[in-house]
Symmetry: C2
Subunit: 144 residues, 2 copies
Amino acid sequence: MRENWSVEEIVGRFKDRGMRMTPQRMEVLRLLTEMSHPTAEQLFEKVHARFPFVSQATIYNTLRALKEIGVVAELAGGGQRVLHYEMASGERCHFTCRSCGQIRDVETDEPPIAKDLPKLHGSYRIEDYRLELFGVCPECAEGT
Amino acid sequence: MRENWSVEEIVGRFKDRGMRMTPQRMEVLRLLTEMSHPTAEQLFEKVHARFPFVSQATIYNTLRALKEIGVVAELAGGGQRVLHYEMASGERCHFTCRSCGQIRDVETDEPPIAKDLPKLHGSYRIEDYRLELFGVCPECAEGT
DNA sequence: CTATATGCAAAGTTTTTGCAGCGAA
DNA sequence: TTCGCTGCAAAAACTTTGCATATAG
């Protein structure tokens, strides 16, 4: 999967589906590369700070649109009931700090379970996975 | 971790925290062993069918209480925005069917990543993990 | 012109809270 | 008689929808 997305590529994906790039969508994309796994609400706050006329609905619509074209991914894990978003980098492993709640991508040279999947489940067709790690991040460990 | 829980044990855990076992909580526990990864709402429907006076709030309170004493676990994965619940069997791997949405425990002889965790993340203290698998279950694969 | 996006507000879902009363220790 | 649990209803948190307008192609 991808690590970085070019604007042209994203615009292309939109066009393929008869959808358009807009300033609102650009801003959401920009923020997604700057922020670490923001929620829809966090994105709304940031966008709204710069463009006060932008509405919540647009944020949610935008996120749904970006999800549909495969450019952003939704994170549901972490015991949180709020959804977090990120650029779809193909990272399937995340670490959530139980103390401060921050989420970080975990880079694994080789997806640790990917190679075991086929033999694990005969009749089940496994198409994807997500690995969520929980614990304490260095900053919080130090603080205690 | 545990595979089966005795009522005495659960009552004991409640008592340790000054909490009580109640008929409502018993019923929720019973349903959790019968149903496969129900949501709070599904549990409410079932409980309400037998005991029409039981309220939603009690279901949620009960689930929170059971979660606190470590007897039930909450599943947030699957892109669903609804939480699912199960007896805390210690199973950390689940399969979600993308077609019918059913969730199944996946028994792994040996947690596939557990052994790799320590070396993966030097300064991060990993205390637990959850592995979510996505794909198509045999029933749905046959149907298509 | 036509179809897609937007803003606004309102409604929808899922979960939590406040409070008075009840019941177990 | 104290403290936790319950039901009820209302609120909160998060997300989606309906509709009229605006705007790109």
